[in-house]
Symmetry: D3
């Protein structure tokens, strides 16, 4: 008997891509035929909350998945820009992504936007979310605390070092208030 074909989507900003994400993707692929990774806030970069470009984030994800022997024919990476009209968020997303029938999210906000949509929602089982989350990792990077290296895949570690990511985030944090951009949202 043929298992039903299931395509699952996962949304995140991936600032940066970490081991929690990687573990989650494994989990999704164990339950689904393919996964669509949606990089949110793709228009933003070089800000305290969004230090890495969409291209850098794409590379982090791609290299990590390849290193982890995750078959890339099962993975699609998509970029989505922010929009204040959240009502059309899902429709906009569907215009940029191949079709999917499951969306994995633990986020109450995303669930709210999808209440009236024809899409199956599933809860991720995140491991140790207090450690494995972008906000914490950016904080460690800003503090030059080497602990961040334990929280991201090897490929990401290599890319962040190559990009001087720690220094980039530190400079973004300290200079934002002093920059011509300080009146902007972080």
């Amino acid at each position: 008997m043929r298992k039903k074909y299931l395509s699952a989507a996962l949304i995140g900003r991936f600032q940066p891509f970490h081991l929690g994400h990687l573990e989650f993707i494994r989990q999704i692929l164990s339950e689904n035929s393919e996964v669509i990774l949606i990089i949110g806030s793709s228009q933003a970069n070089f800000t305290p909350h969004n230090p890495f470009t969409a291209g850098e984030r794409t590379r982090m994800i791609k290299d990590s998945l390849i290193d982890s022997k995750i078959p890339m024919e099962k993975v699609t990476i998509i970029h989505i820009m922010d929009d204040e009209n959240n009502y059309r968020w899902f429709s906009n997303l569907k215009s940029f992504a191949p079709p999917f029938n499951v969306l994995y999210t633990g986020n109450v906000f995303i669930k709210l936007l999808l209440e009236n949509e024809q899409i199956l929602l599933r809860e991720p089982k995140f491991i140790r979310k207090e450690l494995y989350n972008g906000s914490n990792i950016r904080k460690l990077l800003a503090a030059n605390d080497p602990q961040w290296k334990n929280l991201v895949p090897n490929a990401v570690k290599k890319i962040i070092l190559e990009l001087n990511g720690s220094e980039r985030i530190r400079k973004l944090r300290t200079s934002w208030e002093d920059s011509p951009f300080r009146h902007l949202k972080e």
Copy 2:
């Protein structure tokens, strides 16, 4: 003797439309021939400050005015999006609204933008503004405090209940910080 024809405009975000707005519209119509209601921030929805879509806000206003026997041929509803170029705010507004000769506003900021414009400004006489204001009503909704029901017209109460507005606002407030959108302005 024929009274002079006066068209008056009123701007607000109407998040949500409340009894203070309704009372104000009555007051405006007692002094003017027609009223143009301008729904600001029309592009924003499903955010803590702008939980309702422009369409939902339009419906709230429309149903409330009809219930209150306000003659709809005297009312025009217009949507306006935000723009950081405030200098052109009034010109932009005029491109979307029928002509008007009075603008009712108690807001110092709007008055500032209109200082050099050919438009008559009038002060609203708001009743109990500490109660009847969107910020307070959204707070009550978020807290699931039934007091909000006393502050909005019946039609709005019905729409908010139908939309699960209380839950929507509560979810928006609690999930914002945890959502991929948390770096955005509320």
Copy 3:
């Protein structure tokens, strides 16, 4: 027995609002409880194809319907801006309009966009479309051919005369090629 409540939407650019539109709205209201009029390309004005502002178009519609004794509590007017992402067109529209269950359109393109949407489509029975259409009326206005006056409601005739609409369109057509805007779409 209570008739089912039906809300119908009609989309157009209304450049300008004409007797064909008016007749169509009468027809819609004979079959539905209310009508939502959606003014498309609301961001455009003072171009050969979109000579009138959204505000002027709103006024044309409003004044014509009132003159025709159409009860305004059954009418909602909404503005929609253009967007190249047509896939999200309907979702965007729904964020700006109150709910509706029927969309009247004879337009193949709109039908195409709505193929997978939960909305009832109905065909308008337009009268003498070769005469009653915006393109023809703008042509007559540009040529200063008084025939246009027979194709629009009295209220629209009055507004166009007040705005010097004939001269406006003539100037737009003749100056476009010579203006700093000539490389733009009309």
Copy 4:
């Protein structure tokens, strides 16, 4: 001796993805370590020139490459929106794409934009371009001429049939002039 790692980029609108593209990607991968496929005009869909959404185009490419046994770990798909400021085109592109050192293009315009940039340009060797090009294929689809099936990979044929692509394009072409969008660029 280790061959130098080369990442190559290829830009196109892929409306639709055809056998010429596929052949070209094979050629690129025979000379480079990986390829980055850049889907241009990603914001546009359901127009005569851009009938398919970015998501549909992504799926066409993905399915075709998998069918052709092209190793997906060597392929990255990126979306780029149009922008009238062509001077910043390459900088914008680099913010969305992983790094690449070669750009394959036969297009004089793209070459012009890249004249002062640090990037290696290579000429594609297109096979039978008069047949294998999007414009020709869209024309065949609009005419319901089954010849189009010979010009696209099997996976694309399947997707276009599933989407009623032939009918979609025919409707877009015939209805455009009659739609509320006719004043827009195709």
Copy 5:
């Protein structure tokens, strides 16, 4: 007796700046205290109609005026982007320009936009407009006809040669149809 202080504005796309513009600026400065040069369509570049960037156009104007000994303290150069909401065109312009009391334009379209504005309009007395106009000069450049050199100031000639402007325009014209951008407006 002190002559009244008059500030005059002149709008154009300056693609490229030519001797007709230069002569016109002299004429304006003979009648006014200062001139504000408004570069329109500043967001567009590397297109057939807008081959030069706003920066290149600024440089062309600046160098030509300095060469012609026009006192630069009497000149301000401003950039304006296109916007389909023409109704707010003047208000937008005023937000970017220092105050002016006269606008020189022979363009019927601009005059139409300014009909209800508080601004004095004056007619330029252009010399030999069939020769000295951007469209003609771009045509000569595309054809590699050296006649263009007689129609622009020496400084512009130097800049266009330095930028390979003739080749740029020729490539833009010939490649546009073949580029991924061909569906866009020129």
Copy 6:
């Protein structure tokens, strides 16, 4: 021996232009052949952080430099809008500015954006930055503290008084929270 021709750029929001800026421009012109002044956040005005329009800021700079006998043929003023895609910031800037080979900035953020760009960076030697900075001057203006008059050139003092700048900033600060715009970034 001819000194090398050096063009230097300086970026700021100039809210408002003050004596620190003026002193800095003198310093730049003593070391370079010309200066390009880049007014950032040009799209914003009438907000607490950006109270003055780009046009008003242009006038402040222009009048101050002329009063200070700085030769205007050595000065170019350019406007730049904000953009969340900081990666393309420099490319965007270059499309609007004439060529320059030095950028003066003490801002760590700007330096970060320029790390991989072909541009010479120099440190400004600001005088008494705790006094001569926009934030401090806006605070004094809001408080109606006449000390601000000692921190700006005479021309700026005159313009701010003419525009009732002190009152404008005070009103913006006090009304922002109460305005329909309060949910926006300042």
